[in-house]
């Protein structure tokens, strides 16, 4: 795919996406939002932004969950609109983006059924972008093999599931392993797909996916400390398409504590600053937030180039971050807990 012919098929959607991006809240909006006293204030301010009257038909008093639902609904409508109007290979690309949400939904539902929760109350919690037809029947499966044979075999996730069939039961530990194995396979596949597209898409998307892969590797390692996960098993969960592959991953596999992870990160210029000064103490930002900030930066830079698919991915990620920010602020407002209201991650 080259820049010359790009606009024939994808120009409209790219323009649309960039237009949507223009509606992302600015720093001044956030400054106004954090001054809100009650959620109605929030609604009033959001009315003057690109969100418009998305809450206009909601009866007072508002709740955070309503805001969350409406934010998601708006994002999903925009995404679906682009998906419906897309042609190959963009449609496959957009589908790939949704697979991540499908994995999350599957894991959510399995964990839910494991804890004897009714499937009906779980379904609304699933991300609408990752819903699929067989989703609601997921609770018939008791083993990974059953899950594969009965439910997932018809979904696009089936090939990713191959590695997990051997697991015996569905317990917490195994579910986490399944999640990470699925995610690993998914990321690597997505990475491969983006490399075949070529042009700026490859350039931008591979960078974004490499970051995603590395982030997962770090988080998996840090979260695995103090669990019964063996180092070998852990090593199998690392997505092998990031910048850490292969040396960094090998070192991460040997790590026993946080400091050692930090030492690994020190070898990589882009991850070193994230670990420096990250912490849980007051005034410090958590590592998670650091990663989010870095992600926002990468996604913003995706918009610097034209004629590629990265903008769609980047838009979705930025918008997700914005939703997280708004929800964070609304939670703080709703609970009158303003001390930490400023720890949202500004996008512009």
């Amino acid at each position: 795919m080259n820049s010359v012919n790009f606009n024939i098929n994808f120009g409209y959607l790219e323009g649309l996406c960039r237009g949507f991006k223009g509606g992302i809240l600015k720093q001044t909006d956030y400054i106004n939002l954090v001054q809100c006293e009650i959620l109605e204030d929030l609604k009033l301010h959001l009315q003057s932004t690109d969100y418009g009257s998305f809450l206009a038909n909601e009866p007072s008093p508002l709740s955070v969950s309503v805001i969350d639902d409406k934010l998601k609904e708006k994002l999903v409508i925009e995404f679906q609109h682009m998906r419906i109007h897309s042609v190959e290979p963009l449609s496959t690309f957009l589908d790939f983006i949704t697979y991540g949400y499908m994995i999350d939904n599957i894991i959510l539902l399995i964990t839910g059924t494991l804890h004897q929760r009714d499937i009906r109350e779980l379904i609304p919690k699933c991300h609408p972008l990752g819903s699929f037809e067989q989703m609601e029947a997921i609770h018939i499966a008791n083993t990974p093999a059953e899950l594969y044979n009965a439910v997932l075999v018809d979904t696009p996730l089936a090939p990713y599931f191959m590695d997990c069939i051997s697991e015996q039961d569905l317990d917490e530990m195994n579910i986490e392993i399944i999640r990470n194995t699925l995610y690993k396979a998914y990321l690597e596949d997505f990475y491969k797909f983006c490399s075949t597209i070529g042009g700026s898409t490859t350039e931008v998307m591979c960078e974004a996916l490499a970051f995603e892969a590395d982030r997962r590797a770090f988080i998996i390692t840090i979260n695995s400390f103090g669990t019964e996960l063996t180092k070998d098993d852990r090593a199998k969960l690392y997505p092998r398409c990031g910048k850490l592959h292969p040396d960094g991953l090998a070192k991460l596999a040997q790590a026993d504590e946080y400091e050692q992870v930090k030492v690994v990160a020190d070898y990589y210029g882009e991850y070193k600053p994230l670990f420096d000064g990250a912490g849980t103490g007051p005034g410090e930002k958590t590592l998670e937030d650091r990663f989010f900030e870095k992600e926002v930066k990468i996604m913003m830079s995706a918009f610097m180039q034209q004629f590629h698919f990265g903008v769609f991915y980047a838009y979705l990620k930025l918008k997700e971050q914005e939703c997280r920010n708004i929800i964070w602020i609304s939670e703080c407002v709703a609970q009158k807990h303003k001390a930490k209201i400023d720890s949202y991650i500004p996008i512009f």
Partner: protein, 854 residues
């Protein structure tokens, strides 16, 4: 015209409103719609303003009204639009309104909840009915087809089920209803999850069922699943649940099923009566609401608008009164005062509201009072750029020139009449058409420009008569002054008929064919058949285009004089206006003069037309200072010789004068400005004191100064910026301006030739359409012709409307628009103002209708 020539005088006023009277005063001001409020707290968030709670309550009321409106629309109840304009309710009435809406909403919600429950019940029963009916078919089929395969007998026959012990086979089954589009996945999942150990039969329910929540019609299918064993049953049930299939108990024997079916039928009938009663109740509630809903909407919108406006006000220190700033037209100050008095009276406040005029250096908004006719033209001008405050407004001239230039290009009486009638119809039916608010954008633009269309039609009739074109044919009203001396058998009395029979004829004014009497009005119809018609018409239209174009441009330059005088910009008069007018007049007006002189002095009666001056060559020679000598050999054609005494001297003088104007325009203004700025700089210290002194020392409006402290400092900064003189900037600006004007005069004159080109295209196109389409029908003789004429009339009429009226009309419209925006407006119009947008309830109530475009 007086009011349209320049925009209204607008002044900045300060309003002091008692807090209790503020609401009523603003409400009254909203009714008259003559005041544009300025936001005095631009830095304050929307949710931190004073009346945010009231705005929020209005939002809530609007939400309830929207909910009601949605319900009303769902039931397709007509909403009564009486068109009456309720006054903004008093703040205390808000509580009543809120209570009413609250009650209605709750009632509606209750009714909806009831209806939903009933509908759900009804849906379940219907589904059960279908299940019983369909499964009956399954079982019967199984019984009749039984002997064919043993397996199916065993599986499906009642025997198999009831006497399960026979082959140690105890089959269970579940029956249910599922959405039709989910069936393929459902079947696959069943097969996989149960490893093929279930048997599924399904049948479609032919009638779509109503979903109780959304009210949509959905297609569903009945299914029945047979399986063996308790474990499988659990699994099947889970899958059914996962696919949102509803399961129903289905008795195993036929008798029981029949009994159940009868029970279900009676329950459905009972439910139907209850349902219809609920619907009736709902309908009654909604009909009652539908009567008032528009009025309610208007009321709530008015309250909301008032509070929005109040949010822009400042509170004074004592909290007793609200202070606002607004732009008001000076002529309407009395009406505004009266409105304020009414508002104060209504609120019962004893202290009057005060309206105080302020002086400001800020540019006031441009406010043109328009009516229905001028509004469309003003819209066209505003689309290019809103006039600078008090600048000459091109709109009043456009009222005549716009349709006229359009008509020059669209000159055909027939087409003009159709267009005029269409415009007239819209104007006459204005009220009823305007009341039925259409969403059709195209129609709305046509309707918005109805007066424009009518005028354009009217003028086209006139130019059509001049061109003597009616559907590309000519009318011989006064009798042609051409006489055909063609030898033709028989005595043909009428000249035109003779000419027509001759098919082609070349008209030569030097011959005896011309009676030497001009045709009294417009073009002689004889030209219609002449082979040299195009040559004649082209020459006429081209010269006319240039003449009209130069006139309009001259007029534009003269209008710039009015601007300079009005703004006291006398430097511009002698540094710009005078050289501009000289440049234009000495070159282009001279061209027009010789065009007209040629028309007057060179006619075949008095002079030899062969020696009429060739204007183009003469004009080129004028710039080359090249005058052919009469005695030179070879002898130059007599048309290129001078044709009046002193022509050479006069023309040389004209060209030299015009050329001098270019450096005049270029240099004079920057140099004088530079000298002035040098003089100012020497007094800069003195001046800075004089600038600041009156602002600080102005004791009359001392409180005003306190409030606007930040603003006055900003203004001071502006004053200082103006004083800084950048010679380079001004000089470059002047260079651009000069080049643009000089080249512009040439290119704009050429641009006016589009009048000729478009008019030629229109005439040719309509002639082609006549010859190629309608002529076919007219050419056939006998009874066949009688049939053919109406047959070919249809396509001819359609094409005339579609191509000649719509397409050509649109194209002529756009070219006219361009001639006004570019060629005319750039001579005097800067269009850098901003529109006066008063706070008016009318704007809030109506969605603004389309701009006056064709």
């Amino acid at each position: 015209m007086g009011s349209l020539f320049r925009s209204e005088k607008v002044t900045l006023c300060q309003l002091f409103l008692q807090s209790e009277a503020a609401y009523n005063c603003v409400s009254e001001l909203g009714e008259i719609g003559l005041v544009q409020f300025r936001d005095l707290n631009p830095d304050v968030n929307a949710f931190q303003r004073k009346f945010v709670n009231e705005v929020r309550r209005c939002d809530e009321m609007e939400r309830k009204l929207r909910f009601l409106e949605k319900e009303i629309k769902k039931d397709e109840i007509p909403m009564l639009d009486t068109g009456d304009n309720p006054e903004a309710p008093q703040p205390r009435e808000m509580i009543d309104l809120e209570a009413t809406f609250e009650k209605l909403e709750n009632e509606m919600k209750e009714v909806n909840a009831n209806a939903e429950a009933l509908k759900r019940n009804f849906l379940e029963l219907t589904e059960l009915k279908h299940i019983l009916r369909k499964t009956q078919v399954f079982f019967e089929e199984a019984a009749s087809n039984g002997p064919m395969t043993e397996e199916s007998v065993n599986l499906l026959s009642d025997e198999g089920l009831t006497q399960g012990g026979q082959q140690a086979l105890r089959l269970g089954f579940v029956a249910g209803v599922i959405l039709r589009e989910r069936i393929p996945a459902f079947e696959r999942m069943l097969w996989r999850a149960c490893r093929g150990n279930v048997f599924l039969r399904r049948a479609e329910i032919e009638i779509p069922l109503e979903d109780p929540v959304t009210g949509d019609q959905v297609n569903k299918s009945v299914f029945i699943i047979f399986f063996q064993g308790e474990q499988l049953k659990q699994r099947v049930k889970k899958i059914c649940e996962g696919f949102r299939a509803t399961l129903y108990p289905c008795p195993e024997t036929q008798a029981e099923r029949r009994e159940m079916a009868i029970g279900v039928m009676t329950r459905i009938e009972d439910l139907n009566t209850v349902l219809s009663q609920t619907q009736d109740h709902r309908h009654r509630v909604l009909v009652a609401a539908a009567k008032n809903i528009k009025v309610w909407f208007n009321k709530v919108r008015k309250i909301k608008a008032i509070y929005h406006t109040l949010n822009m006000f400042n509170l004074d220190v004592t909290q007793k009164c609200l202070i606002s700033e607004c732009w008001c037209p000076v002529d309407d100050l009395d009406r505004i005062q009266a409105a304020l008095r009414r508002g104060t009276e209504r609120s019962g406040s004893s202290v009057p509201s005060i309206l105080n005029r302020m002086t400001t250096k800020q540019e006031p908004p441009t406010y043109n009072k328009t009516n229905k006719l001028t509004g469309a033209f003003q819209g066209l001008i505003d689309a290019y750029g809103v006039a600078t405050y008090r600048e000459v407004n091109p709109a009043p001239f456009a009222i005549i020139t716009f349709p006229f230039l359009f008509a020059i290009m669209f000159g055909d009486t027939g087409h003009g009449i159709i267009m005029f009638l269409f415009g007239l119809w819209m104007v006459v039916k204005e009220k009823s058409l305007g009341a039925s608010k259409s969403d059709n954008e195209i129609w709305n633009t046509f309707f918005g420009g109805r007066y424009l269309i009518m005028m354009m039609g009217l003028f086209s009739i006139y130019t059509g008569l001049i061109y003597n074109d009616i559907f590309s044919k000519s009318m011989n009203i006064f009798g042609s002054s051409w006489n055909a001396d063609i030898a033709y058998p028989g005595d043909m009395g009428n000249n035109v008929e003779k000419l027509m029979l001759a098919k082609t004829y070349r008209l030569n004014p030097n011959s005896t064919n011309w009676s030497k009497e001009p045709y009294p009005f417009g073009m002689d119809p004889a030209w219609q058949f002449a082979t040299n018609k195009l040559m004649y018409v082209n020459s006429f239209k081209m010269k006319m285009s240039v003449t009209i174009g130069v006139m309009q441009m001259m007029f534009g330059v003269i209008l710039s004089l009015f601007n300079h005088v009005h703004f006291g910009n006398y430097l511009n008069i002698y540094a710009e206006f005078i050289p501009q007018i000289i440049f234009l007049a000495f070159i282009f007006l001279y061209l027009v003069v010789i065009i007209i002189a040629k028309w007057i002095y060179f006619d075949p009666i008095t002079m030899n037309t062969n020696c009429a001056p060739a204007l183009l060559i003469g004009f080129i020679n004028m710039f080359m200072f090249n005058y052919p000598n009469k005695d030179a050999s070879p002898t130059p054609p007599c048309s290129s010789l001078t044709w009046y005494d002193g022509q050479q001297v006069i023309q040389t003088l004209l060209v030299v004068c015009a050329l001098i104007c270019a450096p005049w325009m270029l240099l004079v203004k920057p140099i004088i400005l530079r000298q002035r700025s040098r003089q100012v700089k020497t007094h800069v210290a003195v001046k800075s004191i004089t600038v600041t002194e009156p602002i600080n020392g102005d004791a009359v409006d001392s409180d005003q100064e306190v409030i606007h402290h930040d603003e006055s400092t900003r203004l001071e900064a502006e004053v200082e910026v103006e004083e800084e003189f950048e010679f380079g900037d001004i000089f470059i600006h002047q260079v651009i301006h000069t080049i643009e004007y000089c080249l512009g005069c040439i290119s704009n004159t050429a641009s006016y030739l589009r009048l000729w080109a478009l008019s030629l295209a229109h005439a040719e196109l309509s002639e082609v359409l006549w010859n190629m389409v309608f002529r076919i029908g007219l050419g056939i003789d006998g009874w066949l012709g009688a049939i053919m004429v109406p047959v070919v009339f249809a396509p001819w009429a359609c094409l005339t409307i579609a191509i000649l009226l719509l397409m050509e009309g649109l194209s002529a419209f756009l070219h006219t628009l361009r001639l006004h925006w570019v060629e005319f407006d750039n001579k005097f119009y800067s269009g850098s103002g901003y529109l006066f947008t008063p706070f008016s309830f009318d704007d809030i109530m109506d969605v603004p209708s389309g701009l006056g475009d064709d």
